[in-house]
């Protein structure tokens, strides 16, 4: 692919105190691409994702979305953007969380509408239409008035997805969005993600669902110990197993338990 990357991460570093979590991550995502990130626990996947929308401030390297540096006016570690600028920048990326993080005082519809009203400044009627449209798309047209506490985990997560995509983000970030779910609810959520992928939504997905990563993504990135250890199309990556000891040991854990 020769297209200009929508997201371009180069030599990204991030430490928590003395613990260097990201050691030089390079990663590009083109518009329309679905990239999944896999890797061992503690390898820095969540941190990487949270740097992309600046929920974590990174220390070095660069993250650019559409050519614009994320979080800093100029260079990493330099001057941070002002809060209003940061907010506007974050509105360009959508995020879905492992623990759903729906606003408990708002029903499904209101959860989706909040960003549309406050950030996108849509009139009430239009925001409502968009919210209903997306709730319908995730199969929740009958639950628009339900509070998060009245929804199952799978339903809550689908509201979480609707809330993120309704904002029409340039890229969607998903961090292990099914790992808090009961096994029987995983598929209803993954199906929604597959649907979004086929609609051409650009996504960066952290997941432990290797089978899902293989069949739903254009590219898989293996992050271990703070950097990208291997990446490629699903088949290419699986072929890498022969030369990459860490990837082999990581994947062997799955093939041992999967069928």
């Amino acid at each position: 692919m020769s297209a200009i990357p929508l997201l371009k991460i180069s030599r990204l570093t991030k430490s928590f105190g003395t613990n260097q979590v990201l050691k030089s991550v390079d990663l590009e995502v083109t518009a329309g691409e679905v990239v999944t990130v896999i890797g061992p626990s503690g390898g820095g996947k969540t941190t990487l994702l949270r740097c992309v929308n600046f929920l974590e401030a990174y220390d070095g390297g660069s993250i650019k979305i559409d050519g614009r540096e994320v979080g800093y006016t100029d260079n990493a570690g330099g001057k941070k953007r002002g809060e209003v600028d940061l907010a506007a920048m974050r509105a360009e990326t959508g995020m879905v969380f492992q623990s759903f993080n729906l606003f408990p005082h708002l029903n499904a519809e209101q959860n989706v509408m909040l960003g549309l009203r406050q950030v996108r400044k849509k009139p009430h009627k239009e925001a409502l239409e968009i919210a209903r449209h997306w709730l319908d798309r995730v199969g929740l047209s009958h639950k628009t008035g339900s509070l998060p506490s009245e929804l199952s985990g799978g339903q809550q997560q689908r509201v979480g997805i609707a809330r993120a995509v309704a904002m029409d983000p340039k890229i969607l970030l998903l961090d292990e969005i099914t790992s808090a779910l009961d096994p029987e609810l995983v598929n209803e959520v993954l199906d929604v993600v597959r649907q979004l992928a086929s609609d051409g939504m650009t996504m960066l997905i952290v997941t432990h669902e290797i089978a899902f990563a293989r069949d739903a993504s254009h590219r898989i990135v293996f992050v271990a110990d703070g950097s990208v250890s291997a990446q490629g199309k699903p088949d290419e990556l699986m072929a890498e197993v022969a030369n990459n000891e860490r990837l082999r040991s990581f994947l062997s854990r799955f093939s041992a338990t999967a069928h």
Binding site: N53, A87, R90, F97, N101, F103, H105, L106, G115, V119
Partner: protein, 221 residues
């Protein structure tokens, strides 16, 4: 002992008690409203400020919490007018005192409520592009309200009972009314028994109102 209970005297002066309880409620409501504004404002400032500002707010809270309310009432009613040139009636003086007192307790209630808002919700607000002010208004405060309502109910009931201290500066609230009747009738058991019941019923009604509010908040918004 052959003390004969007799309530006739109490009923004859019952207007003192009915007027008193209404005044008690009025004092409590006004002080709670002003105290809530003080408490919420300072709590929001506290969680979004640096060490110096926090130290000032903590000093206010600690001061109020370590001085008996009775003493504060005397200080504000007798002490303050001799230092600065102001004059106010006993009720106003007591409202000022109880508001400042309520404020200190409510800072703590609201502050721990704000702290208890799950970080994930704030992240969700950030991630969708809400500004800090919008996150406060649309995520943090509403979530805090749900978290603090039970603690808030307790504080409100306490403050309602604290209005009885206004009797020491002759504010004709419920306890003062009871003392007044007692001084004239010497029906000490009867008058205080009736007064206790009135406090209990009024306190229960306040609690009931707050529970309704709690339920409302849970369903809507």
């Amino acid at each position: 002992m052959n003390y004969q209970l007799s309530f006739t005297q109490i009923w004859r002066h019952f207007d003192k008690l009915s007027y008193g309880v209404l005044l008690s409620i009025e004092l409590a409501v006004i002080a709670i409203l002003i105290g809530a504004v003080i408490g919420l404002t300072l709590a929001v400032i506290y969680v979004s400020s640096g060490r110096v500002v926090r130290a000032f707010i903590s000093a206010y809270v600690e001061f109020i919490r370590n001085v008996p309310l009775l003493l504060l009432v005397y200080l504000v009613f007798y002490g303050l007018p001799t230092v600065v040139n102001i004059a106010y009636d006993a009720s106003t003086s007591f409202i000022v005192t109880l508001s400042v007192y309520a404020g200190a307790y409510l800072v703590e209630v609201f502050r721990s409520g704000l702290d208890a808002v799950p970080k994930g919700l704030l992240d969700a607000g950030k991630a969708m592009g809400l500004t800090p002010w919008q996150r406060l208004l649309h995520v943090r405060l509403p979530t805090m309200t749900r978290i603090t309502l039970p603690a808030l109910s307790n504080t409100f009931i306490s403050l309602f009972k604290d209005t009885s201290i206004a009797s020491v500066i002759a504010v004709p609230e419920l306890t003062f009314g009871a003392q007044w009747i007692n001084n004239r009738t010497f029906r000490i058991v009867e008058v205080y028994a009736v007064t206790t019941v009135i406090y209990l019923v009024a306190g229960y009604l306040i609690l009931f109102g707050l529970r309704m509010l709690e339920r409302r908040f849970r369903v809507e918004r």
